[in-house]
Symmetry: C2
Subunit: 475 residues, 2 copies
């Protein structure tokens, strides 16, 4: 082993103790592969500090001995951003033992949580105080505050509450040299220069280690109405979205869309599932309105009025408001089973992309047929968060595809490049909410704005001159 | 003249033409002093480009010839950030001729405006489409989009809509080397690395020149209710704020507070003015609820219910809802005449500071008497945006003060340092919304977090290695 590594390990062991640093393969190996099983790496050791001071001490050692660091939260990211590289020289830094909720201030509606606090734990803590943290996603049982901040995570509630960036009021981070940037006490107004926490949010651990964040909470949901609408086109879906925003902008929590064949696959896949509407419609929208205690009483009639007006104006072909919580849940189950139904049907390549809000219909109507024409036998499926301009653009392999892995590696990559080219042409983003990590690093370098990429490289070098922070990711 | 300056001027003249570059003192001098008349500088020339391409060409020349640049919008900033230094070697770069509204998209509720568009013009353009741009301030007749973005401007609507940062959806900026960072087409979700536009917002022209911004619009106000409340203490004011937020969070547009003697001075100063309430109260709150068309019908009864409950819970001593628009305007006139009434009364030093939201009452109750005890004869006045934690903390000179200028320069500066020390002790900001500029640069260096200052310096050097962007400001 190189001398610097041996010296580093001895010093880190002394700093963190036996539970804080391990090289035991049984303990380290489970964290070396991402949860989608796409990336596997090796690590020098697994460090699990329990405090900001320990993280700071560890980063001073990393700087001294030139040891690269890969920070990791719940290891449920989508782009391999928390998986180390192949050479075995990187320190895997788990934040999972930093899991204290330092403060939950009910009147101020804010919570300061350490990086290792799991999203579900945070949800529960907020609920116990009659509040909620308005961001959720599939991996909520593993995703951590540090990971959510570092990847600027999204979800189905972004329409109303924004991504993590909009929910982060304050931040604590350890910089590569071990200095601690402490801005956990939020100020609603503060014009003392550059807003440095914005640089850390979404930087995927390439600039520093997020150790805690102060997050915005909102009142608990007292009442919701879930609506299923049948539509003739995705153009009509956007018209309906604008109508709902104008009528109930402050209550509109979600607006998801999917095409008919996507719904058909879910209904065929999910035992007991049925389409919420009797007739056939080319597109479907799932709409959720929520109210806290102050607006709960009137929500039902407001939802009915909103839909009645939509009918009058010819904005929907058909619609149903869930008559109870069980039906509301059944509507959401249809949305949440799109991915499982797709996986059951055969290989596919997925793209998490966004375009300007007004361009979603144009993009979908142009790019779906373009992909299917260019790659005969494939089926393109665009669904997702219409209100965020965030389209999950999946391309299903031709039905006769036998070797799924080979198709994904060859044809799949060609398709992805084609889709990303189209997204770029539409002034969109090749990563709407999943980040870049290892997965899309080459595509970002290929398609990103050269001015933006050069700026990012300058910032990266300024903050991490030794290049030890999550190397091989993002940039 | 130094050779580089002569060469630069010749090249810039060729690039911009006679209207685009002038050294005529009659044209240049009016822009060399800030509007509060605190700072005066000299300039090599006044450049007034009309396009992003011209700005880019100019910055390439500045980089080539090492010419420092001071960008300027409406020249109505509060901290001397747009006034050049004394040596006469800096180019004053006015963005005022870049005043095109490039696009106003009604359905998408967004507007792309060039840096020189004046705030009032923007307001008007939005109104013409049944929308509004929800940020306003005293200098709206001169303040420009570029200046508002570069200083992350605030105002009285931040409570509900946030500062400029929250309203900027996209940005275009020219970097020191003349490259153009074009992110004017907004994406609601985009996780392709660092959010670079956040660095430009609030950086006071020290990193690049903002040439255009895409801004968020909201529905026009269809109805408002303005309420005046009398309170026993600022603690009670915060209780009332929390009550209003819980009851009408989505409609609560403003929540301003002022102490009794502050109101008394306004009533004595403003012809025809009277206190909205019959009795005497130690503190007063001015509350505004607004609704767009969808909520207009019920706003009146909701305002009444909110105040009735506040009475029931003992949260207000007395309150009046303006019975018509004229009375509502009269209530606001009391708030807006605090500064003029103060100026008429004698010299004072002003501090635009913020503390964590929950700490405003504690801060005011501790620091007002501390200042008055430490500086006998002075009167400390804390008023302003309670809902933003943003206190305008003014200290009036003792009544017998004869030489106002001398008092401000000597005693005033000592008082300011004392106030800033207190703000720092309370984990607050010495600049809530007015920025740092020249005015508070030394105080930021004295009191700022060394880690944050070092980070800012690194970012500054990375983006502006020659140090030509607005030197002597902020850092």
């Amino acid at each position: 082993m190189a001398e610097n590594r041996a010296e580093f390990l001895a010093a880190a062991q002394a700093l963190l103790g036996p539970r804080g640093l391990t090289r035991d393969p049984e303990l380290v190996t489970p964290w070396l592969t991402d949860w989608r099983d796409r990336f596997t790496g090796r690590a020098l050791a697994l460090a699990s500090p329990t405090s900001t001071a320990e993280v700071a001490g560890l980063l001073r050692l990393c700087t001294l001995h030139r040891i690269p660091i890969v920070p990791q939260g719940g290891n449920s990211g989508m782009s391999g951003g928390a998986t180390p590289g192949a050479d075995g020289g990187e320190l895997l830094l788990s934040l999972r033992r930093m899991n204290t909720i330092r403060a939950l201030e009910t009147a101020a509606r804010q919570v300061t949580a350490e990086a290792g606090v799991i999203l579900e734990t945070l949800h529960k803590a907020a609920e116990d105080q009659g509040l909620r943290f308005p961001l959720s996603l599939g991996g909520k049982g593993s995703a951590t505050v540090g990971g959510l901040v570092s990847t600027n995570a999204g979800g189905t509630q972004v329409l109303r509450h924004g991504s993590m960036r909009a929910l982060v009021l304050g931040l604590e981070a350890v910089l590569p040299d071990g200095s601690v940037f402490d801005a956990t006490i939020p100020l609603k107004k503060d014009n003392r220069g550059f807003d440095l926490k914005q640089l850390l949010i979404g930087s995927e651990g390439t600039l520093g280690i997020v150790t805690a964040a102060t997050l915005r909470l909102v009142p608990a949901v007292a009442e919701r109405r879930v609506i299923w609408a049948g539509l003739d086109s995705i153009v009509a879906a956007r018209e309906l979205l604008l109508h709902c925003e104008a009528a109930e902008g402050d209550a509109l929590e979600g607006f998801e869309v999917l095409p008919d064949h996507c719904l058909d696959r879910v209904v065929a896949f999910l035992p007991g599932a049925r389409s919420p509407l009797a007739g056939a419609h080319r597109w479907h929208a799932l709409i959720e309105l929520v109210a806290d205690a102050s607006g709960a009483e009137t929500l039902g009639e407001r939802a009915e009025a909103m839909i009645a007006t939509a009918f009058e104006r010819g904005l929907v072909a058909d619609a149903a408001i869930a008559s109870n919580e069980a039906q509301a849940e059944a509507f959401w189950q249809l949305r949440e089973n799109i991915a499982p139904a797709e996986r059951a049907g055969g290989p596919a390549v997925q793209h998490d992309v966004s375009v300007p809000l007004a361009d979603v219909p144009g993009f979908v109507e142009a790019v779906v047929p373009a992909v299917e024409a260019r790659f005969p036998g494939t089926r393109a499926v665009a669904f997702g968060h219409l209100g965020d301009g965030n389209v999950h653009f999946h391309v299903l392999a031709p039905p006769a595809t036998n070797d799924a892995a080979a198709w994904q590696e060859n044809e799949g990559k060609t398709i992805s490049r084609f889709v990303h080219d189209q997204v770029t042409h539409w002034h969109g983003s090749i990563s709407a909410e999943h980040g870049i990590g290892q997965l899309k690093r080459d595509e970002l370098a290929r398609l990103g704005d050269p001015v933006a990429l050069a700026l990012m490289a300058r910032v990266k070098t300024a903050l991490d001159p030794l290049g030890i922070m999550n190397p091989g990711k993002l940039l």
